[in-house]
């Protein structure tokens, strides 16, 4: 028994949900470390319950472990109770499979899924005993701190902390990076030698080789590249998505996690082009798996994990070209095996009656629609190609089918938004209520319930709205009050997000390297788990920005010029900046762009991939 394991076990019963900290779950991969050449700690900068729900980790975990001489293990942020025990008893952050400290690993890899997890990265590095700043790490070839995930499309606010960012899909490039590492490790290479060679791998971004100079007005003047690194780093994509590696087993946790079920990825990318949606652009091109692949992956995962629930993962499942036959076959299997099938990410506009009947067969829960904007004009601005007619006809089908609760998602603070658009949200809700009571076979016994959930719009890199400012807090508060005053029915419930959270999100999303110091300072002041409302300390963040000479409004509330060098301009996500500028102009004219299946709008992905998307 290792002494670290003893130390952990000594205190494990003092913490909540101890099974999160000791591993041993069904499906976890144990290897003989004397026979392993490269060790990879896959870190999720949030707690086990959240991190274990992440599909990307499941894919890359299994993929890496297929290689006999590589060992990928999992690592999560401990809850506050266990962190205190770890710090008091000198328990370094460890990986769940071997219970070995991750500071001894070759790679420490984080997935960056949301900006509010950035302080979690610093805290985990610190708990591990790994220098938080890249420049302070050893010269030897070990302890390479890398990151992937959607936030890596603008990783600049974290540039000082990471050795490498991996752009795009990791299924191939992760192994290429590990292969290079093992080759150079055997040759006795140093850390810098490795980083220089790694920078030559497509999709690999080594931030320390890129240097930024700023103008007096604070915008970027120019970037200089050293060490022979490429001027542009292009994200990686999997060309044959139907054949891409997919695990036939997941680690099955003992404790309940957020998404405690089998997920099967049915498609990647999105044809829709909603102008606020980062995922809709950075995961292009649109690629789907065949029905055969989806059914067989569902079967083997259900059989191997023992889960009795499966969910289809994608940005818009109903855009799958074989959605009807696919669901028919899946339901045949899941019904026979008493497995529940859940279908998130269905779109309003192609929500057919037959589709609804299929879902109803599976489970009757509430319906959720992302309408995003309160008026047709605003929905056209954001290119959410959903008409009120479609929303109404879908609600009608749903009500006639026995549903009586509808949840509607909106954003507040969208470009060009006026008070009229806000009042429009309340009016739309009212018209849905009126529709409900006009239906003869509406569900009896209970009234209709409309929940409106309003998030504050966060402009993101690699979207047509990347240039847009975010509304100030005063503007958002005015709009929130207006919405509350406009809602008169007690059948409508309204909930909001904290605008301060959205402000921090936009700063971290659109920020540049000068923010690294503020993130470090905020973390030092005690900021962590920023996405948990009970831990979010905006006051400390503001202090940190002030101390580091950062004006939050420069990032949050300023319009970025079309010809300005953006902090992420040297990263190529295959969609061109010209396209985003064009789309931004079209948005301001409230003109929509058709989806990719209807007509190619020339975003640039097809040129980069070398083939038409459809």
């Amino acid at each position: 028994m290792s002494t670290l394991k003893e130390k952990i076990e000594k205190h494990l019963l003092e913490v909540q949900k101890p099974s999160r900290y000791i591993g041993g779950e069904v499906g976890s991969v144990i290897k003989d470390k004397s026979k392993v050449d490269v060790r990879f700690a896959f870190c999720f900068p949030d707690t086990y319950d959240i991190g274990m729900s992440h599909l990307g980790m499941k894919i890359l975990y299994s993929l890496t472990n297929e290689r006999e001489n590589y060992w990928c293990e999992r690592c999560f942020a401990p809850g506050l109770d266990f962190e205190e025990i770890m710090r008091k008893n000198d328990i370094p952050l460890y990986a769940l499979e071997s219970l070995d400290p991750i500071k001894d690993f070759d790679f420490i890899g984080f997935t960056l899924q949301y900006e509010l997890s950035y302080t979690g990265v610093l805290n985990m590095l610190d708990l591990a005993g790994i220098p938080v700043f890249s420049k302070d790490r050893t010269e030897e070839l070990t302890q390479i701190v890398v990151a992937g995930g959607p936030c890596v499309c603008n990783p600049e606010p974290l540039a000082d902390f990471f050795d490498i960012f991996i752009l795009g899909e990791g299924e191939e490039v992760n192994l290429e990076l590990m292969d290079l590492y093992w080759e150079m490790k055997q040759q006795g290479a140093k850390r810098m030698d490795f980083l220089r060679r790694a920078a030559q791998i497509p999709g690999v971004y080594v931030p320390q080789f890129y240097h930024f100079f700023y103008k007096e007005d604070g915008t970027i003047d120019r970037m200089e590249v050293t060490d022979g690194a490429p001027e542009k780093i292009t994200k990686r994509i999997i060309k044959d998505f139907d054949k891409v590696y997919y695990p036939d087993n997941f680690v099955v946790p003992f404790t309940e996690i957020v998404h405690d079920r089998v997920s099967v990825e049915v498609l990647r990318g999105c044809i829709r082009g909603c102008r606020f949606c980062q995922a809709g652009f950075i995961y292009r091109p649109f690629r789907e798996k065949s029905t055969d692949t989806i059914v067989s992956e569902t079967k083997s995962l259900c059989e191997n994990t023992g889960y009795d629930e499966v969910s289809l993962a994608s940005l818009s499942t109903s855009d799958h070209s074989e959605i009807d036959p696919m669901l028919t076959r899946l339901i045949k299997y899941t019904e026979g095996e008493r497995v529940n099938l859940s279908l998130p990410s269905l779109r309003v506009d192609n929500f057919s009656e037959s589709l609804l009947n299929k879902i109803k067969k599976v489970r009757k829960s509430g319906l959720t629609f992302a309408a995003e904007g309160g008026t047709q004009r605003l929905r056209d601005v954001i290119n959410k190609n959903v008409s009120e007619e479609e929303i109404m006809s879908t609600c009608r089908i749903a009500f006639e089918g026995g549903y009586s609760a509808v949840k509607l998602y909106f954003m507040m603070g969208l470009p060009t938004e006026t008070d009229e658009d806000i009042v429009g949200i309340a009016e739309l809700a009212q018209r849905i209520i009126d529709l409900f009571y006009s239906i003869e076979d509406r569900p009896r016994g209970k009234g209709v319930q409309i929940s409106i959930s309003c998030a504050t719009f966060v402009p993101k890199p690699f979207t047509p709205f990347q240039f847009e400012p975010q509304d100030t807090r005063e503007m958002i508060e005015h709009k929130q009050k207006l919405l509350m005053d406009s809602v008169t029915s007690r059948k409508v419930k309204v909930s909001y997000h904290d605008p301060n959270v959205s402000m921090l999100e936009v700063i971290l999303a659109k920020g540049d390297r000068r923010l690294c110091k503020s993130i470090y300072t905020a973390w030092k002041k005690g900021c962590k788990f920023d996405s948990w409302s009970e831990h979010f300390r905006f006051d400390l963040w503001l202090e940190a920005f002030a101390e580091c000479g950062i004006d939050p409004a420069f990032y949050a509330n300023r319009r970025f010029d079309y010809d300005e060098i953006l902090p992420w301009d040297h990263l190529d996500y295959l969609v061109s900046k010209e396209f985003f500028i064009r789309e931004n102009k079209t948005a301001h004219k409230a003109v929509t762009t058709p989806n990719c299946r209807e007509r190619c709008s020339g975003c640039g992905v097809n040129k980069a991939v070398g083939r038409d998307c459809f």
Binding site: L12, L13, K17, P18, S19, I22, G23, G24, E25, V26, V252, F254, T255, E256, C302, E303, N304, T305, G306, Y307, D308, R338
Partner: protein
């Protein structure tokens, strides 16, 4: 349909699986095993299985009891054991499988073994002897109606109490089952109140589930 009773171990890392989590874990284990488990009938059919006794978080056991029904009468007990063992989590394994003989209500007591780790073995041993010889051992027990003071002395049967290099090792019977359930932590709490000697309990394990006449529950 056959009514099956499996005895299983829960050791090592598996001791951190809470009772609630164990339920979910067993459901998935059954599904992985592909045994023809019997589902309840009615509006929301679910596989029928139940644990005879809950085991406290952090305790090990060599004798946990799991009852379930199978729709296939011809399946052998060995086959059930092997099919489950092939898919059980680390630290858990089926020791034996048999048809259910007694009713759950026949369970009367359980045997526990544990060590009390201390620097002062002689002193602690003395304190344990004094406590077990006392006319009554009062403890505060949390019940559904709030805190209650209970005397565990009449129900406590100490089988052995021995000194070893760094600990006092004990074996005892405590009442278990549908009526009264005591676990060793009650005794340990009582000991903490009567002695100043620092000690830590470790390796608490349940090693037998018994009927009132001390015969194994079957």
């Amino acid at each position: 349909m056959i009514r099956v009773r499996a005895t299983f171990e829960k050791k090592g890392r598996a001791k951190y699986i809470s009772h609630l989590d164990l339920n979910r874990c067993m459901l998935r284990t059954f599904r992985r095993s592909r045994l023809p488990i019997w589902y309840t009938e009615g509006f929301n059919p679910h596989p029928y299985y139940s644990f005879a006794l809950a085991l406290s978080l952090g305790y090990e056991s060599s004798c946990e009891i799991l009852d379930f029904n199978l729709t296939d009468d011809d399946i052998s007990m060995e086959q059930i054991r092997d099919q489950l063992n092939a898919v059980m989590p680390e630290g858990m394994s089926i020791v034996s499988v048999a048809l259910q003989e007694q009713k759950i209500t026949a369970i009367a007591k359980a045997k526990y073994e544990f060590s009390l780790k201390t620097e002062d073995v002689d002193g602690l041993f003395e304190a344990v002897c004094q406590l077990t010889a006392a006319p009554e051992i009062l403890i505060e027990k949390k019940t559904k109606k709030g805190m209650k003071t209970v005397d565990i002395k009449p129900d406590l049967e100490v089988l052995s109490c021995e000194k070893s290099d760094h600990s006092v090792d004990m074996t005892m019977y405590l009442p278990a089952g549908t009526q009264t359930n005591y676990n060793p932590s009650l005794f340990i709490e009582a000991l903490k109140r009567v002695t100043e000697i620092p000690f830590e309990s470790e390796n608490i394990r349940r090693t037998a589930i018994l009927c009132a006449d001390n015969t194994p529950f079957k």
